[in-house]
C-alpha cells in the first residue's frame, strides 16, 4: 500500500511541480505533514545530501525520500513516478516546440507559475527555519532564539550571497561548526 501511495504522491509532484528540483520541496513538505514517512527535519537532511551529491537535485531528493519511506524499491518507485509525467508531456511537446513556445496561453500560465512556486517555497522555508532557530518553549528572549544556530545562519547566508561557492562548501561548514559547537 505504501508503494502505491508513494507512486501516487510522486506522480502528482512530477505533474504539478513546475520550475525544476526546488519546486518539488513544497510537495515533499506536504508529504511529510500528511504521512508518517519522514519528518521535516529529516527532509532538511535529505535536501543537504541531494545538493552535495552528483545528479539533478530533484531526482536525488525523490530517490532519498523513496528510500527513507520504503527502502530500495521505494527509491525506484518515487523516481519513476516523478519522471513519468514529464516524460510523456515532453514527448508530446517536442512535436510542436515552436508553437508551444509562442502560444499566449502557455506564456500566460508559466508567467504566474514561477511566482506561485516562490510563494510556496517561502512557506517551506518557514517550516524549515522555525524549529532550528526558534524555541517557543523558552521563557526569556535569549532562550526563545537559538543564538548558536542564528549566528551560523547569518554567517552562512552572508557567505553564500557574497562568495557564490558551490553549495557543498557551505554544507561542509555547517557540519563542522555543528560538531565543534555541539548543535
Amino acid at each position: 500500500m505504501t508503494y502505491l501511495l508513494l507512486f501516487w504522491e510522486f506522480f502528482k509532484t512530477g505533474l504539478f511541480a513546475v520550475g525544476g528540483g526546488l519546486a518539488t520541496i513544497p510537495f515533499l513538505m506536504d508529504m511529510a505533514e500528511k504521512y508518517p514517512w519522514f519528518t521535516t527535519a529529516e527532509l532538511s537532511n535529505m535536501i543537504a545530501v541531494s545538493e552535495s551529491t552528483p545528479g539533478p537535485i530533484g531526482i536525488n531528493m525523490a530517490t532519498y525520500v523513496g528510500f527513507t519511506t520504503a527502502g530500495p524499491i521505494g527509491s525506484l518507485i518515487a523516481t519513476t513516478a516523478l519522471v513519468l509525467p514529464s516524460l510523456v508531456i515532453i514527448m508530446i511537446i517536442a512535436g510542436f516546440l515552436q508553437k508551444f513556445r509562442e502560444n499566449a496561453l502557455v506564456k500566460g500560465t508559466f508567467y504566474v507559475l514561477h511566482p506561485a512556486v516562490i510563494g510556496m517555497l517561502f512557506v517551506s522555508l518557514t517550516s524549515m527555519v522555525s524549529p532550528l532557530l526558534i524555541n517557543l518553549a523558552g521563557g526569556t528572549l535569549l532562550e526563545i532564539f537559538n543564538l548558536k544556530a542564528l549566528a551560523l545562519f547569518a554567517v552562512l547566508l552572508f557567505g553564500i550571497l557574497k562568495f557564490k561557492k558551490h553549495p557543498i562548501v557551505y554544507i561542509a561548514i555547517g557540519a563542522v561548526v555543528g560538531i565543534i559547537f555541539k548543535f
Partner: protein, 186 residues
C-alpha cells in the same frame, strides 16, 4: 539499439558529472552532445532548457528527454531519461543506507543540525535567485504573496495553489494585455 545505448551512456555521464542539475549541466551537455557528437546545437539545448523550465518536472530530466526523443523517438527519450536518472538512484540509495547506520550517533546529529542551518541559507539564496526572474511586476508579486498566504494560513495543498495560480494568471494576463493594446491604439 546501439545508438540507444550510446544515449543512455552519454546521459549517465551527464548525470554523474553534474552537481546540482539545472544549468550546472550545460557545459557538460555542450562538450558531450554538441562538440563531440554533433547531436544537437547549443541553440537547441537552450530552447529545451527554456521549455523545460516551463513544463512540469525536473529541468535536467526534461532536457534529456527532449534530446533523446529528437535523436531516436520515444525509445530514445526513455533511454536518455533513464541515463540521467540512474547515477542518482545508485549513489543516493548507497549513501542513504550508510547514513541510516550512523543515525542517532551524537556527532552525526550535531553535524546534521549544523547542516540544516546551511540548507536554510541555501534555500533562501535559491528563492532570491528565482525572484529575480519570477517576480517582475504587481501581478507576479500578488501571485507569490497569494500563494504564500494560501499555503501558510489555509494549509492549501501545492496542487491547488498551482492550479488556482494558473487560472488567475491566464485571465489576468489576458486582461492586462488587452488594456495595454488599447492604450497603444490610442
Amino acid at each position: 539499439m546501439k545508438e540507444l545505448l550510446i544515449l543512455f551512456g552519454l546521459f549517465f555521464k551527464v548525470g554523474i558529472m553534474t552537481f546540482g542539475g539545472g544549468y550546472a549541466m550545460l557545459p557538460m551537455l555542450e562538450r558531450e552532445l554538441v562538440n563531440k557528437r554533433g547531436y544537437v546545437t547549443m541553440e537547441e539545448i537552450m530552447d529545451y532548457f527554456a521549455v523545460g523550465q516551463c513544463t512540469p518536472g525536473i529541468i535536467a530530466v526534461n532536457t534529456a528527454t527532449f534530446i533523446g526523443f529528437k535523436r531516436k523517438g520515444i525509445l530514445g527519450g526513455i533511454f536518455a531519461t533513464l541515463g540521467v536518472v540512474t547515477p542518482s538512484v545508485i549513489i543516493i540509495t548507497l549513501l542513504a543506507s550508510v547514513l541510516k547506520l550512523i543515525a542517532g550517533n551524537e556527532i552525526a546529529n550535531s553535524a546534521f543540525a549544523g547542516i540544516s542551518v546551511a540548507v536554510c541559507a541555501l534555500v533562501i539564496q535559491a528563492i532570491l535567485k528565482l525572484m529575480k526572474t519570477g517576480v517582475k511586476d504587481a501581478l507576479t508579486f500578488g501571485i507569490a504573496l497569494g500563494a504564500f498566504l494560501a499555503m501558510f494560513f489555509l494549509n492549501a495543498s501545492p496542487i491547488i495553489v498551482i492550479i488556482v495560480s494558473a487560472v488567475i494568471g491566464v485571465i489576468a494576463k489576458r486582461l492586462l494585455d488587452k488594456t495595454s493594446a488599447k492604450k497603444e491604439a490610442k
